[in-house]
């Protein structure tokens, strides 16, 4: 277990990305199924409230794009790229590991809003200031989306840095 928490091996980090991303893919998929069940009939198939529905499609989109698709790609970047270029690992293995943990923690934080949101007495989970007025309302649940977006977005900087690999192996 400890070796998984402290690993800097690109192959292990790739597998960590894969399973975590797949888990989020299943969660995003569940959100999609609830949406589709609700929309199967005109006047509310499942009796989902407007507010819950807003949260569902917001989370479905955010989860799928940022917590499933991009990290699934990152799983392959991590595992395969060093192998394709004949390298022993990426240029900055610890930064690579840091990226993964930031992704995992950001993703958990984002999904925690489902549980913790009511604790903060939050209201509508907003996507963006579409109509200008909502930005001033102290909607904590909305912050749950925006703050972790910054956190889990930062992992991408690291994944770029890790691609400054040594190309010594390719004769030119």
């Amino acid at each position: 277990m400890k070796t998984w928490l402290t690993t800097t091996d690109h192959k292990r980090i790739g597998l960590l990305y894969f399973w975590t991303a797949f888990g989020f893919f299943l969660i995003g998929g569940l959100e999609a199924l609830i949406i589709r069940a609700q929309l199967a009939r005109p006047d509310g198939g499942l009796g989902v409230s407007a507010e819950t529905f807003n949260q569902l499609f917001t989370m479905h989109g955010t989860t799928m794009v940022f917590l499933a698709l991009m990290p699934l790609s990152a799983a392959f970047f991590n595992f395969i790229i060093p192998l394709q270029i004949g390298a022993r690992d990426v240029a900055f293995p610890r930064l690579n590991a840091f990226s993964y943990w930031v992704f995992l923690l950001g993703g958990l934080f984002l999904n925690a809003s489902f549980i913790a949101g009511p604790l903060f007495g939050a209201d509508r989970l907003s996507v963006a200031p579409m109509r200008g007025g909502s930005a001033t309302r102290t909607s904590r649940r909305a912050s749950f989306r925006q703050v972790p977006m910054s956190i889990s977005g930062s992992w991408d900087y690291r994944s770029w840095a890790s691609h400054r690999w040594r190309r010594a192996s390719i004769s030119s």
């Binding site: 402290t6 091996d9 005109p42 970047f77 004949g86 590991a97 934080f109 004769s171």
Partner: protein
């Protein structure tokens, strides 16, 4: 550089997009958080701000983001097709350059997400033009993939099926995308289910099918076990049928006026039937995903017996055992050819690498500091959201301490 595998190239291009696009969303989110936490008015009209600013910032990120999402999957397809057609990637150089052009042009199209925001006819026309332009390098890639398959000795493995599925579904998604490129046409389509159809064809039919192709292709290399081909084919067909049932009707419900993001709709709209079909398709996709999940899980109970090159691939990852040893290569190979493991016109296949490394290879051990530093960030976030400054400081302290200890971590002996 032009000996790099296409997946490596697409990833490299993607990372340039990442490093330039993510700062834009970071700025946008910081400004938004200032509005929310500290009462500023960047996006609030009553304070002199402008929601259109948010849209520009968001979409300047958002459009490159979709190329970040699709280019890696295109890279995967460019790896899978040559292997299962036993033919080199057709037009390798052009495929690489198209990727660069797509990334570059991707910066010029962002306001096609804002055609209904009142930008004016000149802006609308310019962005409509640039958006149509970007279909060209995409089309180049598609024709090169077809050229790769043409005349090849094709093996219909699950991985190849997903790669071919990618091409077909991405074309459909691209066609609806091109119809969005025309500003007047988009004015009818925007914020309707027609857009939902488009995004799911390119994201699910594109990225996800491409990534599934990659999973079936590289799973033996990553785990040393083969996925079941029969379960894989079930997964593929259920997914293909499910996604078309789910998303094709959305073109129609969108054109009939069904808006996005609604939780009920009137039966008078005439889209009930389309929605029902979509729901069936969605559940089929769910079932297909469970089949896939089962396929993944059952490999855990298999012995680690996959060969180093089960598919006869041409690139370096297939030259080492599956899964690779911790040091990857016993000897760093010298690469003369774009397809090192294949016999080509100019090059013989690479000689096999030695089984044992000639000298002991030192591999870095693990480190706790990446994890510890990472933990500081959610602590900071919790403090920010609950408006508790002490917790914010604790989070910042953990991050700074983590970075300090990380930087001064002693080398192992």
């Amino acid at each position: 550089m032009l000996r790099l595998p296409p997946f490596t190239w697409m990833t490299l291009i993607t990372q340039f997009l990442v490093i330039t696009a993510f700062p834009v969303i970071t700025v946008a989110l910081v400004l938004l958080m200032f509005d929310r936490f500290f009462g500023t008015h960047f996006f609030v009209p009553q304070g002199g701000g402008d929601p259109i600013l948010w849209q520009h910032l968001f979409w300047m990120f958002g459009h490159p983001e979709v190329y970040i999402l699709i280019l890696p999957a295109m890279g995967v397809v460019s790896e899978v097709l040559p292997t299962f057609a036993k033919k080199p990637l057709f037009g390798y150089t052009v495929v690489v350059y198209s990727g660069v052009v797509i990334a570059f042009l991707g910066w010029s199209v962002w306001s096609h997400h804002m055609f209904s925001s009142g930008l004016g006819p000149i802006a609308d026309s310019v962005f409509a033009g640039t958006t149509m332009l970007i279909a060209i390098p995409t089309g180049v890639k598609i024709f090169n993939w077809i050229g790769t398959l043409w005349g090849g000795q094709i093996r219909f493995t699950t991985s190849l099926l997903f790669a071919v599925g990618f091409i077909a579904m991405f074309i459909i998604g691209g066609l609806s995308g091109v119809s969005h490129a025309s500003a007047p046409s988009d004015l009818q389509q925007t914020d309707t289910y027609y857009v939902v159809a488009h995004i799911h064809y390119v994201l699910f039919g594109g990225t996800i099918l491409g990534l599934f192709a990659g999973m079936y292709y590289w799973w033996p290399k990553m785990t040393g076990r083969m996925l079941s081909e029969s379960l894989g084919k079930v997964h593929f067909w259920l997914t293909l049928i499910g996604m078309n049932l789910a998303f094709f009707p959305m073109h129609f419900s969108g054109m009939l006026g069904m808006p996005r993001r609604i939780y009920t709709y009137s039966s008078d709209l005439g889209v009930t039937g389309f929605n029902q079909v979509s729901t069936i398709g969605a559940f089929l996709i769910g079932l297909a995903t469970l089949v896939f999940f089962w396929n993944l899980l059952r490999t855990r109970w298999q012995p680690v017996t996959a060969p180093s090159n089960p598919w006869g691939g041409s690139t370096l990852e297939w030259a080492i055992p599956s899964p690779p040893p911790v040091y990857n290569f016993t000897v760093i190979p010298t690469v003369e050819s774009r397809m090192p493991l294949w016999q080509t016109e100019r090059h013989a296949p690479m000689r096999p690498l030695p089984e044992r490394p000639p000298a002991a290879i030192h591999v870095p051990g693990g480190s706790w500091w990446p994890l510890i530093t990472a933990i500081g960030l959610p602590i900071l976030a919790i403090g920010a959201i609950s408006r508790a400054l002490p917790i914010v400081f604790v989070g910042v302290a953990v991050v700074i301490l983590g970075i300090y200890r990380w930087a001064y971590e002693p080398f192992e002996m």
